[in-house]
Structures are given as C-alpha cells and as structure tokens.
Amino acid sequence: MTYDHAIPLLRARGLSFLRADEPVFGPLDFALHAGELALVEGDNGSGKTTLLRLLAGLLHVGEGELDWRGQPWNRDACAGEMLFLGHQLGLKMDMSPRENLHIAAGLHGTREGRSAASVLTEVGLAGYEDDPVRRLSAGQKKRAALARLLLLPAVLWLLDEPYANLDRAGIALVNRLLEMHVAAGGAALVTSHGAVSFHGGEPKRIRMHA
C-alpha cells in the first residue's frame, strides 16, 4: 500500500458532536499525518473521550467534516487501520492476558514477527500470562490492554488516558510504545492529564473547549 504522504490520515474541519442538540465540543479543526502524535488537552467534561469515540466510529459526527486519507470518513475505509483503547479496557476478566490477546488477534490479525508471548513480555507481564485478568492489579490490566497495541496491526492509535493507573515504568512504557509507533510511520491521538515526555519532537496539541 502506498499513499501520498501530503494527504493527512485524518482531517477534521469544523468538527463537533451534538448531544440533545447541545454541542459537547467543537467546532474543531485539525489534521493528523502519518508519523505524528497529537495530544488532546482539555478540562474534565470538555469532550476528550467523546472526540476519541467519535473518531473511532462509535459516535456519529454531529456537524463538520471528517476525512480519512482525503476521503470522507466511512467505517469500511479505515477498518483494520485503527485501534481504540478506552476507559473500559475490553478485557475478559475470566480469561488470562494471553487468551485475551488471542481473541483480539483472531479478530484483527497480527503484526509481522510478533506473538502474544513476546508482546506480554514487552509490556512487563512475564509470569502473569496465564493468570485470570481478574486477579491482576489495575496497572497490570492496563498493561494487558496495551499489549494489544503491540500485537495488532494498525496505523492510527486512539488512546484515551493511556497513563491512568500506571506506575513510573508503565508511563515510560507508554511513551516508548508511542515513539516506536510514530517512528514506524503510525499516528496516535492521546488524551491525558499527565505529563507526556515524548522524545521524538514536540507533539501536536489539540485544545478542547466546550
């Protein structure tokens, strides 16, 4: 697959989301190119999560335009190119991190040269691969969900509060994952209150205002 790199992966023009005819956020204008990281900033209730759910395709665009690789956004065009990590991690509590990854890989496929075992070691869950997720700590659950980002193929990552519940090493892990992804030509949209120490240049900032 070759794409013209001048065309942004994602472009929003006057994008807003309406709930009961009241705008939750926006209008927003931004463009995200391959190899770029964008931080979504805003106060509680400013619509950061809503924006990410909308970009993932879980919510409908209220007003404005949203383009994916220069074409109006539609579900089939970006199917399999995007991964969403929300507040609910999408892990089955009665299954182990390894089993959870196998399900996700069954639905999405896997990246070249990655396996469930290798990515679980990479996110620091070695030794916990076969424990039920229910028994893991909140931070370990988060790591199990982050392992999905490493295993599954995707160009765009939409990460809602990826730093929540993580310790220092975990925060460094998220930063490392983002750096690797962006260096490999991927793009990511991240909401966060915490500090992001991103080494690959200053990230783009999207400021939310209600």
């Binding site: 993932a56 395709g57 879980l58 919510l59 409908h60 199917a79 399999g80 995007m82 991964l83 969403f84 929300g86 507040h87 609910q88 991690l89 999408g90 892990l91 089955k92 509590m93 009665d94 299954m95 089993e99 196998h102 399900i103 996700a104 890989a105 069954g106 639905l107 999405h108 496929g109 896997t110 990246r111 070249e112 193929p153």
Partner: protein, 228 residues
C-alpha cells in the same frame, strides 16, 4: 502482517464465549434448574391425573423452556458492554452481524441446548407419550434458536438501559406467541395422530428468515445503543 480471516474471527468469538460460559458453568445450570422446578409445579397445582397431564404436557414443556431461556437472555451482551469488549468487537475489521451471529450461536449452545437435553425428562414426568417425544424435540430445536435470535435483537435494543430484564420480557413474550402456537400445534397434532409436518415446516421457514435477518438487525441496534 497477517490479517485475520473470517473463519478465524468467527472461531475466536465462538471459542471465547464458550470458554467463558464453561468457566461460569454454575450459570448454565440455573435455567435448567428453573425449568425443572416450574415443570414440577404443574402436577402439584393441577393434580396428578394422567389424562390431564398427558394432554397439556407438550405445552407446559414448551412454555417452560421458553421462559427459562428468557431468564438467561438478559445476560447475552451485558458483560461485554460492561467491560468494553463489545466496543472492541464493533471496531474490529470484521462483519459485525456475523460476529454477533457467533455470539448468539454460543448463547444457544450454552443455554438452550441443556434445556433441550432435559426436555424429554420433563415431558416424561408429565406422561407425554413416547412417540410424540420426537416431535416435541424437533419443535424445540426450531423454536429455541428462533427465540434466541429474536431475543438478541431486543437485548441489543435495550442494551443501553438499566434494569432491562423486565422490559425485555414484556417485549419478547408477544413475539413468542406465533412460535408457541406452531410448536405446540405440531406436538398436539402428533398426539392426536394427525400430520404435524406443516407447523414444523412453518417454524423452519421462520427460523431461516430469522437466521438471516436477526443478526443484521442486532448489529444495527447495538451500534445505535453504543452511540447513545
């Protein structure tokens, strides 16, 4: 990079739901025990006359099995909505209707199949003649997936609401009426020595229609529920 094929994805969803059901096998036993107790209540309430019980046995088993299924229906997508797995399923690059079809199949295998297995025992308890047993089983094999499919659409529609159990029952029971009429009609006809193939064929036709349309409706309803 390897993309997941459709067969692999279907297998993953089916295996996941069956594994989860197996790890909570106590939940599988609930509807079975419920059906057993309800069917046992009838002889106590109506008196243990063979002739009376024989006449109503088919109907009792059908209604009991449908009610027991209703009890378990509510849980079809609940845990998936709570832990976010449903969002992940919706966002996966696979046809959602087919994935939900797999979930409905897994649900049928784990809730309806055990009920069908104990149905001959319930019917035997109520003195249903042995030759009619085959027709009853056939009627159940067609009626339970039908109920599972219709139920899945309604569960998807009420997915966003709290305490949807009662609402679900109120919405689903009217839809059960034709299913019960045809299934019980076939059993009654067999009991009287009349041809019973026509109502069974009607049930089969309705099931074929539901198999195609219900997963599509279910997928559309879930997208709306998640959008809210």
């Amino acid at each position: 990079m390897s993309r997941a094929s459709l067969a692999v994805a279907c297998g993953a969803v089916l295996r996941r739901d069956l594994t989860l059901a197996w790890r909570r096998r106590g939940d599988i036993a609930m509807p079975v025990l419920y059906a057993l107790i309800v069917a046992t209540l009838f002889p106590f309430a109506l008196g243990p006359e063979d002739a009376l019980l024989q006449r109503i046995a088919g109907g009792i088993v059908l209604v009991t099995v449908l009610l027991a299924m209703l009890l378990a229906l509510d849980a079809m997508f609940r845990s998936d909505i709570e832990d976010g797995s449903l969002e992940q399923l919706v966002l996966a690059p696979q046809p959602l209707a087919l994935m939900l079809g797999m979930k409905i199949l897994a649900h049928w295998l784990t809730t309806a199949l055990p009920l069908i297995v104990i149905a001959p025992m319930l019917a035997g308890m109520l003195h249903l003649p042995v030759p009619v047993m085959g027709v009853l089983m056939l009627a159940l094999l067609l009626a339970t997936p039908m109920l599972g499919l219709l139920g899945a659409v309604l569960v998807a529609l009420t997915a966003g609401t709290r305490r949807s159990g009662m609402l679900l029952a109120l919405m689903l029971l009217p839809l059960c009426v034709p299913v019960v009429i045809f299934a019980a009609g076939a059993v009654a006809a067999a009991q009287q020595g009349l041809p019973w193939i026509a109502p069974i064929a009607w049930l089969g036709a309705a099931l074929a229609l539901a198999l195609v349309l219900a997963p599509l409706a279910c997928a559309a309803a879930l997208r709306i529920a998640l959008d809210a």
